[in-house]
């Protein structure tokens, strides 16, 4: 299966990745080859097979409803690219 340039640009946008036209040209055969490999799955009959999302079928563990995390806002914001006064700064969203 081959994706069109338009498909690739749409996927890139959904993934919030900027791709140049040059990259799209390079990605088309690469993703095409990967998709061809993936199509190999079609050779397997999976009717009546339940999908397995997790290798060990364990139930989600519950814990007591207790506060276990302390507020570490300052620590976490110290490593932010642009944060001040407890706020993360991004370009203007609403005029």
């Amino acid at each position: 299966m081959i994706l069109s340039d338009q498909d690739i640009k749409k996927i890139a946008h959904l993934a919030r990745i900027d791709v140049s036209d040059e990259q799209v040209t390079a990605l088309r055969p690469e993703l095409g080859k990967i998709l061809t490999m993936i199509e190999h799955m079609d050779s397997v009959d999976t009717q009546n097979v339940a999908p397995l999302s997790h290798p060990i079928e364990a139930n989600q563990r519950l814990r007591l409803d207790e506060v276990t995390e302390i507020n570490q806002r300052d620590t976490f914001q110290k490593i932010a690219p642009n944060a001040d006064h407890g706020l993360y700064f991004v370009p203007l969203v609403i005029e």
């Binding site: 996927i11 919030r16 990745i17 799955m41 050779s43 999908p51 060990i56 690219p81 991004v90």
Partner: protein
């Protein structure tokens, strides 16, 4: 000094024949000496390592030493280490000083182990050659023109070149076993859920598992004893009684039932590697083990299913890198979308972006069923294949990798060729089983790994089977001439 195993170093430290500070200084010196030729480390922790060694020596003098107290280790740069750069091999995290400690590294700190540094790796653990690292390729100590495998290539090269007695790796599709095989060392990927993933930067959460890499199976058991165990901070951690992975090491091999899948011996396997594996199997037979042909009928579609599931999970996990809260941010973003898109495009390498896009596609509404759901169904069949096999055998053996270490640059332009390096390891991750690789010989002077796969939580048996082999062979004692 650097020829010793952890088991021997422990005795030397306890007998005060050597101090942890001396040992740490010796390894740090070697790391610096070979950094330019191997590029095995991203961060070398000179100061903190010596401080940890001083503290370890005090513990040893007070008689409070545990198995790893004073033992220097190298940690894959995927584990968050508080106050120390944690890059995951990516430009995105080049400036990231982790604000918290991963459970794995916390356990090593508690045990008094010394952290020599953070090892190089494929970017976000996506690769089989260590060539996707933002910090450049790592070289294989056996032949500097070849790759050390990946993604834990810095960790494998560090142990093979004796820059650390042991290291940690993580394995999503073979990233501990394949580099161990390509560099002639030992490595084990434990059962999914045996080692905490807390603070281990996520690639594909239902597949990722951390494990030790070292010189011998015994050393793997010693390190795994500290690494493994239930962690309430990881919701996929399995709660079960603590295992002593060293307890079964000396059990004899007599009566061991070894399954050998025909699916692992196809035309893609280098025939010289096949011969090495057959020789290893004959040795097991001579010790009273029995060999049984087994069938893993869905192994040939494992790679296809993996390259749907792993990218799907990666596309979700890596959405957190948005240039807002930490990590790389592009210069002068025009608007919020531009901030997201350019931060990600400039901060992530091509292989990572390819996998994010592949995963985004696999999860998109029009192909979700045919792609993602189909892969999960195949995953179910793959697990069932193994469960059926373990009805009649105790362990499964075969090659770890279809070839020995390949040349740097040889496969980096062809994603499919690269993906196929993991054709014997991937199914084990999809099933969540434990698997190890140990050195079993050489082809054209390059190391070959024997893969040993066990049933769920049967790591102690895998290590027993590996340890017994190492009592009869000396492949694991071979070291590359330039790093003696």
């Amino acid at each position: 000094m650097h020829n010793h195993t952890i088991a021997t170093l422990r005795k030397m430290l306890d007998a005060k024949e050597i101090s942890s500070v001396e040992l740490t200084q010796h390894y740090l010196k070697r790391i610096h000496q070979y950094q330019s030729s191997l590029n095995a480390f991203i961060t070398i922790c000179d100061e903190t390592a010596i401080a940890q060694a001083v503290e370890a020596d005090q513990r040893i003098h007070q008689g409070n030493a545990q198995a790893l107290t004073g033992i220097p280790l190298a940690q894959k740069d995927i584990f968050c280490t508080k106050g120390i750069k944690t890059s995951c091999g990516s430009k995105m995290l080049d400036n990231f000083i982790a604000p918290y400690e991963s459970t794995v590294t916390e356990k090593f700190l508690q045990a008094g182990a010394v952290m020599l540094g953070k090892t190089n790796m494929d970017e976000f653990a996506m690769g089989s050659s260590n060539e996707t690292s933002f910090y450049g390729a790592v070289k294989n100590p056996w032949d500097l023109s070849t790759v050390p495998g990946g993604s834990s290539g810095g960790s494998s090269a560090a142990v093979a070149a004796q820059l650390a007695p042991a290291s940690t790796g993580t394995d999503t599709g073979g990233s501990i076993r394949q580099p161990a095989a390509l560099t002639g060392i030992c490595g084990i990927k434990p059962t999914y859920g045996a080692v905490s993933r807390y603070g281990m930067i996520a690639f594909a959460s239902s597949l990722d598992q951390a494990g030790p890499m070292g010189k011998t199976a015994e050393d793997l058991a010693i390190v795994l004893n500290t690494m493994a165990g239930f962690d309430p901070k990881d919701s996929t951690s399995i709660e079960r009684p603590k295992t002593d992975y060293t307890a079964q090491l000396n059990q004899p091999l007599k009566g061991l039932r070894i399954g050998v899948p025909k699916a692992f011996f196809t035309e893609q396997l280098d025939s010289n590697i096949a011969a090495v594996i057959q020789t290893a199997l004959r040795l097991y037979e001579s010790q009273g083990a029995t060999i049984h042909d087994i069938s893993l009928p869905h192994n040939d579609v494992a790679t296809a299913a993996y390259y749907v599931i792993a990218p799907a999970e990666c596309s979700s996990n890596l959405s957190r890198f948005d240039g807002v809260r930490y990590g790389y941010r592009c210069a002068n973003p025009k608007n919020l979308l531009d901030l997201y898109q350019r931060s990600r495009s400039e901060g992530l390498g091509m292989e990572v972006k390819r996998r994010i896009m592949m995963g985004t596609y696999a999860l998109s509404s029009n192909v979700y069923e045919a792609c993602y759901l189909k892969a999960q169904k195949i995953r179910c069949l793959i697990r069932q294949d193994f469960l059926d096999a373990f009805e009649t055998v105790d362990v499964i053996m075969g090659p770890t990798s279809p070839t020995t270490a390949f040349k740097i640059g040889e496969r980096s332009k062809d994603p499919i060729a690269m993906y196929l390096s993991d054709m014997y390891t991937i199914a084990v991750n999809l099933a969540g089983l434990p698997g190890a690789s140990i050195p079993a010989g050489f082809v054209n002077n390059m190391p070959v790994g024997l893969q040993i796969i066990g049933n769920y939580f049967d790591e102690a048996r895998i290590l027993n089977v590996a340890h017994q082999y190492q009592q009869l062979t000396d492949w694991h004692l071979q070291t590359p001439a330039a790093f003696k």
